[in-house]
């Protein structure tokens, strides 16, 4: 459980909130590159950390992320014309560049310099790894550019998707580090999903349904190790990475790609679930990419032209009670992503953690909250840079390994837990 004030601190991320200040220490995934496919392409509405913004790519390819509304009469600039190095409001023709600086007010004499006195709030945005990243924090504290491994491999080795999740970011993220739910909610899918099946590790998973967990603090967050018995007096370890504030990376299976998530607050009752798959040493196959587009693995099929899942709360997640009854699907909801989302959204927009009853296997969640609260406090009271900002904290990998029983996985798998260009992931 958390006290109400702790829950508020972690779940509120709007402007002026301590939780929002934490998120504003990082480069956050804001859009897929394909959402702004070319220079002067239509602008896109973006809501992040409870602020309504507009993203566009100008005539020179420069990226802008600015206040959505025109300074003149409050019109949404989504209706604007993206042309000649700026975005022009269609109402009275006021025009803005990518920094939010007004560069034309047609009704005022150009010589008056009136437009120079108008500037919309804007945030820097950069492109890396098929993702447009935004930094919404203080100008004087811009962090180093993101170095998550998936964003640094060649395009053909990576697939990234995003989907709307209709609940607070924290309950969504906590699902990503709650390793003990896999044996229930996702039971049955490991051996059938094309992006997971066939791995030797799956056999260990199925043979030992009572994993033992070890939670270890890391520099950027924590490792959550789940161990199962393996042959020859060894353990099979699946090690999940959590890096503050909301990055998780799940252990790979066999020769399949590595994958993980970011959970980014849209507002306090909605978030973006970002899902990435990549392979450090090979291209993804056409079959793999097609499966990801079809919503296999950790990805989700969305309503065409939107990022809202096809299965969503409005259609009861297309739950199949017959499949649930016969055991074809443990939850009755199809796909890992929507199995998670349906459960997490059912908790309500912001789950009341004063009522929960955590158990010992929830220590990963307890530790993540502990680190988040500690980081918020250190940032607000002492200005300390939080974990996860340093690129070293971002150059991590999850791993699946078989180790002798007496070894600490943090040490025995030290190299496997670090991103190393050109080196295959540790996977079983």
């Amino acid at each position: 459980m958390l006290r109400k004030e702790q829950n508020d601190l972690l779940t509120q991320t709007g402007p002026g909130t301590p939780g929002g200040r934490l998120f504003r220490s990082y480069w956050l995934p804001a859009l897929l590159s394909e959402e702004l496919p070319e220079n002067d392409s239509p602008p896109v509405r973006v809501k992040l950390l409870s602020e309504r913004l507009l993203a566009f790519r100008d005539s020179d390819g420069r990226l802008g992320l600015i206040d959505e509304f025109c300074a003149h009469r409050g019109v949404s600039l989504w209706f604007g014309r993206n042309e000649e190095k700026g975005l022009r409001c269609p109402y009275h023709g006021w025009k803005y560049d990518v920094t939010g600086q007004c560069i034309d007010v047609p009704s005022e004499p150009e010589e008056s310099g009136y437009c120079r006195k108008i500037k919309l709030k804007s945030y820097p945005m950069i492109e890396r790894g098929g993702v447009l990243w935004a930094y919404m924090g203080p100008k004087e504290q811009v962090p180093p550019l993101p170095e998550w491994e998936f964003a640094t491999v060649p395009d053909r080795q990576r697939f990234v998707s995003k989907r709307l999740q209709e609940c607070n970011w924290l309950q969504a993220m906590e699902g990503g580090i709650d390793s003990s739910h896999v044996s229930f909610l996702h039971r049955g899918d490991i051996n059938s999903d094309p992006l997971f099946k066939g791995a030797k590790g799956n056999q260990y998973n199925l043979a030992d349904a009572r994993p033992v967990f070890e939670v270890v603090e890391s520099a950027g967050g924590l490792y959550i190790g789940a161990r199962r018995n393996a042959e020859n007096d060894q353990y099979y370890w699946r090690i999940t990475q959590y890096v503050l504030p909301s990055f998780t990376m799940i252990a790979p299976r066999g020769g399949h790609s590595v994958h993980g998530h970011f959970w980014i607050p849209i507002d306090d009752e909605n978030c973006w679930t970002w899902s990435f798959d990549y392979h450090p040493v090979r291209d993804l196959t056409d079959a793999e990419t097609a499966a990801m587009r079809e919503g296999k693995g950790i990805h989700v099929k969305c309503i065409p032209g939107t990022f809202r899942p096809v299965a969503n709360k409005d259609n009861d997640y297309l739950i199949d009670r017959a499949a649930q009854k016969t055991g074809r699907s443990y939850s009755g909801v199809e796909g890992f992503g929507m199995q998670d989302a349906s459960i997490q959204e059912s908790m309500g927009p912001i789950v009341d953690r004063t009522k929960e009853n955590l158990v010992s296997t929830d220590n990963g969640i307890i530790m993540a909250r502990h680190r988040l609260l500690r980081s918020i406090k250190a940032l607000m009271n002492k200005g300390e840079v939080p974990p996860g900002v340093d690129p070293v904290h971002q150059r991590v990998r999850s791993a699946a390994v078989v180790l002798p029983r007496d070894q600490a996985y943090k040490d025995a798998a030290r190299e496997a837990l670090m991103a190393c260009p050109g080196v295959a992931p540790a996977s079983v």
Partner: protein, 169 residues
Amino acid sequence: MLSESARVTTAAEARFRINEPNSKPRRVKVIALDRASERVVKHLAQLAWSNASFFTASAFAGEPPGHGFSMPGWLSDLAGRTKDLLDEVNSADLVVMVATAGENAQAAALIGEACSLKRVNTTGLMLGGASATDAMLSKTLYQLRPWSLMLVIASGEDYIEDMLIALRA
């Protein structure tokens, strides 16, 4: 028309959730396995807890047999009163064993065996993870791991307090 799932997950509907206690108190027994951990546990014990009680087995770690160690007296409360392990485990819902990296955690075997016998869950908590060498970690892990159904290696002592609060101790 909104689906059931859409309607019931609104903030407005959250107001109608039943507001009654949904659990009974669970008893958590916290046992320090070495002197360094005992200091941390003594500090914790001064805070207000509903369902937590605190013990030390540090005599087991520091005193080899023949140097003041006595089998009946190896587990005690923080006031030094001898306690019977099986009695304590019998009345526990969770036993938390606190150890320090590099220290002797051999009492974990006795406690873990008793918990296993009584079907009580165990959590091993190792402190000093950030500053410990690999050898120190391995030494304590070797003793703690077989008897911990959940093992946590924390860098700061403040984690235990947060964990116990989270578990409603």
